[in-house]
């Protein structure tokens, strides 16, 4: 096939509206621009979404990993096991805290998911607030020498007393997108295995 291009009269009578090669393409630029805008918006949205979800997954997987490590085989009969598990954790970018809370099997006993925070409220009385350092539901376990330790682990390691813990404020922590997981645990206490709840929370540094 042979193409033969012929240039004729630039503005013949039967080609009204022709404004030249560029002017003729101007209307087509509108859908082109809109399409590109849509595409890059969608691309930006998807990219942000991927990034956010990746961070969330990292955080979630870290949370599960921390939970599994601290939980061990769900039976905690030596404080040294808790110490070893805590010291084996290496976490960067995120802050975390793992705490073992006592629970009661009595009728009507309630476990509050917000006991993690210093503003946690133990009773129905709205004025009856407890600070984190007053939290007597944190499990205290004896080590081999007979010294009592709270079952707490964070980036600083284990703690000798509850008083040495930093307060965790619900308001501040909530802004840092905290994730939390709970696992049941049986902890040895005076020759008895007591049921308890291991709570692990991870949030942005």
């Amino acid at each position: 096939m042979r193409l033969e291009l012929q240039h004729r009269d630039p503005k013949p009578k039967n080609q009204r509206g022709f404004v030249g090669p560029i002017g003729d393409d101007l209307p087509s630029l509108i859908p082109l621009t809109v399409a590109l805008l849509i595409f890059f918006s969608a691309f930006g949205f998807a990219f942000n979404s991927f990034e956010e979800k990746k961070i969330e997954f990292d955080q979630r997987l870290l949370l599960l990993g921390l939970g599994k490590t601290m939980k061990g085989d769900s039976l905690l009969d030596l404080y040294s096991e808790w110490e070893i598990a805590c010291n084996s954790l290496e976490v960067s970018r995120y802050n975390f805290r793992a705490v073992v809370f006592t629970i009661s099997t009595n009728d009507g006993a309630i476990f509050y998911n917000y006991e993690f925070f210093k503003e946690w409220q133990a009773k129905d009385d709205p004025g009856d607030y407890f600070t984190w350092t007053d939290n007597d539901r944190i499990f205290q376990m004896l080590d081999a020498s007979g010294t009592s330790h709270p079952l707490v682990c964070d980036r600083e390691g284990t703690h000798a007393t509850i008083g040495s813990l930093d307060d965790i404020s619900r308001e501040i922590t909530l802004n840092k997108n905290p994730l939390r997981v709970n696992y049941p645990l049986a902890v040895l206490d005076d020759k008895k295995f007591r049921p308890a709840i291991l709570s692990v929370m991870v949030w942005y540094n």
Partner: protein, 442 residues
């Protein structure tokens, strides 16, 4: 030959742009949908993993947590005495013991429920769950315990609450099929199970209790509505109805009532304990063994077939003896000694002199004649209230049988084995639920 006129190109370029727009819009839509759905499956997977991990931990904690042997006590103290409980064991051990009594979990059922409730609290009301024991080899009573934590959407079933709630239900599904039909209706169930062996009183009398292969199952799923009433728009009612549930703690639906085992079969004797051995010490005295039983409610049963047999290497000829006659246990508020029996290896004349017809346990004349005529000088005798008596009602709940040694003319190294069985020809035994909770060798 095709001729293209340059001046006509302008008309088609806008169509090109529209096609481009369409393609790019499609791509953008794809990106948007992909971005929105990205990670949903991973989300689901991590959530499932978290559930699974929680459930398997929960099962372990339930089985390994400690519990006081006295069902009325907490781990801290017994309400009756104010002191800490004397005996503490794993909850699973208490459950097994409870099951060994009569095939039910009537004594430990509530304790188990309280433990499960406490452990599952952090998951809140977002889930329903079921905990059950399954014993595939049992002919009946395949599911001796089934606890169901159920979403309740009918406020009438939510005491003290004006909206939806969760309630515990005790269920008694007939068999595996009923359970399978129920679980088939549930979406996304996370479950874990553990195998163990329970003991039960043997159906055919024998020296050892039967071993029952058992599975402990724990299943958790997101809360859904289950139809607990029949109707045309209640598709999953039949599956739920097959569970035969009632709200735990309501009249007629306590663990004590719902999980009563079949008991020991009427008219069938069983042996407990399997056997024990009496040794004679070098100084001529015998060790004694005390078998401790718990009896609930007023019960009438027959003591029979006390067998004392030779040990393979025994130099002393131990002969069997029988004790029969009705033994009536008075109401449980009688915290007194009722009767005692000594089974004596020794002189029949000496033993017979202690027989008192007015006591709860007595020997028939036939038994005595048999014993008297036997050269082995083995007799069983009934005593009145003296410190040598051997069947007694301890506190409110216990009867013990002590087999004691004779103290006269013993050759050294005598060894006898004995077995004690109970039979219940009239069915009272089963009907009134006779429990053996413990055997104690003192």
């Amino acid at each position: 030959m095709v001729q293209l006129r340059l001046n006509n190109r302008g008309q088609s370029s806008i169509m090109d742009a529209f096609f481009f727009f369409l393609i790019v819009s499609g791509l953008a839509l794809f990106l948007l949908s992909f971005g929105t759905n990205y990670g949903l499956s991973l989300d689901e997977q991590t959530e499932k993993e978290q559930f699974r991990e929680y459930v398997s931990s929960a099962l372990k904690v339930i089985l390994y947590s400690s519990t006081p042997r006295d069902p009325l006590c907490s781990l801290e103290e017994c309400p009756s005495s104010g002191n800490p409980p004397e005996e503490i064991d794993f909850l699973m051990a208490a459950i097994k013991e409870d099951f060994a009594d009569d095939g039910g979990l009537d004594e430990t059922g509530k304790k188990l429920k309280d433990m499960i409730r406490a452990i599952m609290q952090p998951l809140g009301d977002s889930v329903d769950y079921a905990f059950y024991l399954y014993m595939p080899d049992q002919i009946d009573n395949q599911i001796p315990y089934f606890l169901f934590y159920k979403s309740e959407f009918d406020p009438a079933n939510c005491p003290g609450v004006e909206q939806e709630c969760h309630v515990f239900q005790y269920c008694k599904p007939l068999d595996r099929l009923a359970m399978d039909q129920f679980f088939f209706t549930l979406p996304g169930v996370s479950r874990t199970s553990s195998r163990t062996v329970f003991l039960s009183a043997p159906i055919v009398p024998g020296p050892r209790p039967d071993q029952v292969e058992s599975e402990v199952h724990f299943a958790v799923w997101s809360s859904i509505r289950l139809d607990d009433k029949p109707g045309p728009d209640k598709p999953n009612y039949p599956a739920f109805a097959g569970l035969d549930c009632c709200i735990a703690g309501t009249p007629g639906c306590t663990a004590e009532e719902k999980f009563v085992g079949p008991g020991v079969q009427s008219g069938v004797a069983f042996l407990f304990p399997p056997s024990t051995t009496l040794y004679q010490n070098a100084d001529g005295s015998f060790n004694s063994r005390t078998l401790k039983f718990e009896i609930k409610n007023e019960s009438s049963f027959q003591l029979s077939n006390l067998q004392i047999s030779n040990a393979p290497d025994a130099s002393f000829n131990c002969m069997p003896a029988w004790v029969s006659g009705p033994v009536t246990i008075p109401p449980m508020d009688a915290a007194i000694e009722v009767a005692k029996v000594d089974f004596i290896l020794g002189s029949s004349d000496a033993a017979k002199s202690h027989i008192d017809e007015g006591f709860w346990v007595h020997l028939t004349d036939e038994d005595l004649e048999w014993n008297q005529s036997n050269e082995s000088k083995l007799v069983a005798a009934v005593y009145d209230a003296s410190e040598d008596f051997s069947i007694r009602l301890f506190k409110k709940e216990f009867v013990s049988v002590t087999v004691k040694s004779p103290d006269a003319d013993p050759p050294v190294n005598r060894q006898c084995k004995f077995q004690l069985s109970f039979s219940d020809p009239g069915g009272n035994y089963t009907k009134n639920r006779f429990f053996i909770i413990n055997r104690v060798f003192q």
